[in-house]
């Protein structure tokens, strides 16, 4: 599985959405991506990629696309 597939799967499984919806998803665009969903998604992301995000990055993680940029800082190319 590629990193992009793993990354997409985190969104599809956490929020119960399709990969197509995930690709353009932004925070609070769906009810499931609220404060609670955000923590759950970040927790899975940290487990899957074996990283620990800085709090600024957790706060800045506002969309699927933004998340990809943030992961680069942790040497995770998506």
């Amino acid at each position: 599985m590629t990193n992009l597939e793993k990354y997409t799967q985190i969104f599809t499984e956490t929020f119960g959405i399709s990969a197509e919806v995930a690709a353009s998803l932004e925070y609070q665009q769906i009810q499931e991506w609220d404060s609670v969903g955000h923590m759950s998604m970040i927790a899975t992301l940290e487990n899957v990629f074996e990283i620990m995000l800085d709090t600024d990055d957790i706060i800045d993680f506002s969309s699927f696309e933004k998340g990809k940029e943030i992961l680069k800082k942790y040497d995770v190319e998506v």
Partner: protein
């Protein structure tokens, strides 16, 4: 049942208002009779869950369902935070607001901080009236000595919570929120967690609060932190 003259809503919303609280033992006939005496422009009626006999009667009388209000409590002993929440919570501090902070808070509220309350969702009212009501409510509580705290992340104010002492070690954070610049930051849970922290500091026993079913995010956050529901009221409204 209790019929309260909510005179403060004249200032907040511009209409006369009665708030009616139905109690579990109330008889339908008595409720019907008492409601017929109300002549305010806006009436809010709270019915305990399970009283479908009263619900059927009041809907025949022109009352419309607007929300369910969940009474949530947290007994402070068992506060769940996951690892990430814990990391974020450690970075978010809180401090009592001064007058300048209150002005910033009111400006945030006026710019549309809340949109799931029964006023902003009611087409008879507007989001401006909703904001005015919240500002009026907080001002009244400040006059009574209720504390309002700001939430701080890296020297920036990111949100607030109110903290009302209702006696016997029980605290009621009746309103909380995240400021617009941080509304998409996933830190909403700190508005719920920090009052617990403050109550523990004051050696309190319990947090008591209300959440509307129109605010699913708030319900999920409270549940995630260990609140449980001990009472539900169905809320009906009528405009005359």
């Amino acid at each position: 049942m209790k019929i309260i003259d909510a005179f403060w809503e004249k200032r907040n919303l511009g209409v006369s208002c009665s708030e009616v609280e139905i109690e579990n033992g109330d008889l339908v006939e008595l409720v019907k009779k008492e409601l017929s005496t109300i002549d305010t422009q806006y009436t809010v009626l709270k019915v305990p869950s399970g009283r479908t006999d009263i619900i059927l009667e009041i809907t025949r009388g022109g009352y419309f369902f607007i929300e369910a209000s969940l009474h949530l409590i947290h007994k402070l002993g068992d506060c769940h935070l996951n690892g990430i929440q814990e990391r974020l919570a450690q970075k978010v501090d809180y401090q009592l607001m001064n007058e300048a902070d209150i002005r910033v808070l009111f400006s945030e509220i006026a710019s549309g901080m809340f949109n799931t309350d029964r006023i902003s969702l009611d087409p008879y009212f507007s989001s401006e009236q909703s904001a005015k009501r919240y500002i009026g409510w907080i001002s009244d509580e400040l006059d009574k000595g209720t504390s309002v705290f700001k939430l701080i992340y890296k020297n920036e104010t990111v949100g607030f919570f109110t903290f009302k002492d209702i006696g016997e070690g029980v605290y009621y954070p009746f309103l909380a929120g995240i400021y617009s610049n941080y509304a998409k930051a996933g830190i909403g849970f700190t508005t719920i967690y920090k009052p617990i922290f403050e109550a523990l500091k004051k050696k309190g026993k319990m947090i008591s609060t209300y959440v509307s079913t129109n605010n699913l995010n708030a319900m999920r956050m409270h549940e995630a932190i260990g609140f449980f529901c001990d009472k539900i009221n169905y809320v009906f409204i009528k405009h005359s």
